[in-house]
């Protein structure tokens, strides 16, 4: 009856040393639409494809602001993501209340890592069915982290998760050396190009299905760095960016042309 004797719960190893429930949770991440994140020296961006269940329905949100210096992109079960998002929001608020500073991004990510790990080691619990890309800035500059249902967290230069994300990752790997020195606008365009790689044939980036999230550490005139708060751009706000990557072939063609910029 069962395809597999070792996947009834998340506390039993298979003889091969695998925990199938956790692997199935990782599959749930691959069902979600693709999200891409890139970090440069000054900014971290998240870009995402939003899906609508049917023509008449609205588009599922993919990017969530957590605190002024952190935002997440999700792939997988949105409801599970909301639990994590609320948790992260609470932690950031609490940290700001007790210490009066932005929560260090690594600390925050490690907290959801530990939280998710608990679900993989207790009988009757279910791992989160969602993967996250966490973009944030702290005193050390911008960061991008990947989070998986297993509780694994890893700092990344650039990454993509979700359906067909391998194509996006291939694009990112090809351009990895460029990201660090990228400007805010270049970084967003790289993100959108990576996103395009993962699109199904004859699908396009549109103002309806594209979300862009940006957070930055901007250098002020007096030498101190100021946080550019995490902000999500949707709808008409992303038109200019989509147009700027509309027809170019991959690899930076068409950069530097004058375009209208939201600052």
């Amino acid at each position: 009856m069962f395809r597999n004797n070792y996947d009834n719960d998340s506390v039993t190893f298979s003889p091969q040393g695998r925990i199938f429930q956790v692997e199935y949770a990782a599959e749930a991440v691959k069902q979600g639409s693709v999200v891409v994140g890139i970090a440069s020296k000054t900014h971290a961006v998240l870009v995402a494809i939003k899906r609508n269940a049917e023509e008449l329905s609205s588009y599922q949100k993919k990017l969530f602001p957590i605190d002024e210096h952190v935002g997440i992109a999700i792939a997988g079960l949105t409801s599970d993501a909301r639990v994590l998002s609320n948790f992260m929001k609470q932690q950031c608020l609490g940290h700001r209340l007790t210490y009066g500073r932005n929560m260090p991004v690594r600390t925050l990510v490690e907290m959801i890592g530990s939280k998710a790990q608990i679900n993989t080691q207790h009988y009757g619990k279910r791992p989160y069915g969602v993967g996250l890309l966490v973009a944030g800035v702290d005193d050390q500059g911008p960061h991008l982290f990947e989070f998986q249902p297993s509780g694994m967290t890893e700092e990344m230069v650039a990454f993509a998760i979700g359906a067909r994300s391998q194509m996006a990752r291939t694009y990112l790997e090809k351009n990895i050396d460029a990201f660090r020195g990228c400007s805010r606008e270049e970084l967003i365009r790289h993100g959108l190009r990576a996103l395009k790689e993962s699109l199904v044939q004859d699908r396009e980036l549109t103002v309806d299905n594209t979300s862009v999230g940006v957070v930055g550490a901007v250098k002020a005139d007096d030498g101190t760095t100021k946080v550019e708060p995490f902000r999500v751009f949707d709808g008409q706000e992303v038109t200019a960016w989509i147009e700027s990557v509309a027809d170019d072939k991959e690899g930076g063609a068409g950069e530097g042309e004058g375009m209208e910029v939201d600052s």
Partner: protein, 277 residues
């Protein structure tokens, strides 16, 4: 000897009267620190253009008894901030243990600061690690003290925190046993609020004034104030600790001696003793 083990160690009724064990309450109301016991007196501090200077004497008093004469009341935090304690010494030691733990956790969590900064060119040069700065530490202590007052179990201290804030500017602030927190270009606890603060305010009435003070001037003012406090505060000592915090770290000297004392003024004091004129 009484061979009933139950009676061993018990006070004899015929000598002491019936033993009143009522203080061994098990279901009475819980009591917390009701008043400080062994106490430290003033802590004083002043800002200058690239940091702060803080000082406190090395005395811990038991009421009017000069009980411990070598107690260090200035503590460093992560080598970037200094914390000065007035009030109960046992509560100070509790806080000191607590802050040490916090510092270790903080240093452990951010132990990758160094290597991250090495491979960087311009962006992070001006910013320190993510570790708690003096402003963060002060906020934390304020929450801690306020929490304890809400529980009716206060830590009986007034605390000064000095160092640099997130913008690398001099930071100086105070928090007391009720969680009241405030900042000022110069601060003093206890007797110092009445005796040292007016002197320090002559030199640093505003932040702009403080930003013009040199390190040497600030140290001189603080030393002068410590002398005035020793002249007039009966619970003070002429051995003291002094700390200077700048962006280069904390320089803490814990065994200073008051110099060039002059008690000539004592001759002119009238109205306290047996003098007839």
């Amino acid at each position: 000897m009484d061979h009933r083990p139950q009676a061993w160690g018990r006070p004899r009724d015929d000598i002491y009267g019936a033993y009143d064990a009522s203080y061994l309450q098990t279901s009475g109301p819980k009591t917390a620190t009701q008043s400080p016991v062994v106490t430290g007196t003033s802590v004083i501090a002043i800002k200058f253009k690239d940091g702060i200077v803080m000082a406190a004497d090395n005395l811990a008093s038991y009421g009017s008894l000069a009980r411990f004469t070598d107690v260090k009341r200035l503590r460093t935090f992560l080598d970037t901030s200094v914390v000065g304690f007035g009030g109960d010494v046992s509560d100070m030691q509790f806080l000191d243990r607590h802050l040490k733990e916090l510092a270790i956790d903080e240093a452990y969590e951010h132990n990758d600061d160094q290597q991250q900064q090495d491979d960087d060119d311009s962006h992070h040069k001006s910013t320190p690690g993510t570790a708690l700065n003096a402003a963060n530490l002060h906020k934390y202590l304020q929450k801690l003290m306020y929490r304890r007052r809400n529980d009716f179990d206060p830590l009986w201290n007034q605390i000064l925190v000095g160092g640099l804030d997130a913008a690398r500017k001099p930071f100086l602030a105070s928090v007391d046993l009720r969680g009241t927190a405030f900042t000022s270009p110069s601060l003093a606890t206890g007797f110092g609020a009445a005796l040292a603060q007016p002197i320090m305010r002559r030199y640093a009435a505003t932040d702009e004034d403080a930003a013009r003070l040199t390190r040497e001037q600030a140290v001189d003012v603080v030393k002068e104030c410590m002398k005035v406090l020793f002249y007039r505060d009966a619970r003070s000592l002429d051995r003291y600790s002094i700390a200077v915090v700048t962006k280069d770290g904390v320089e803490l000297s814990e065994d200073e001696q008051l110099e060039r004392q002059s008690w000539a003024f004592a001759e002119r004091i009238r109205g306290y003793g047996t003098q007839t004129v």
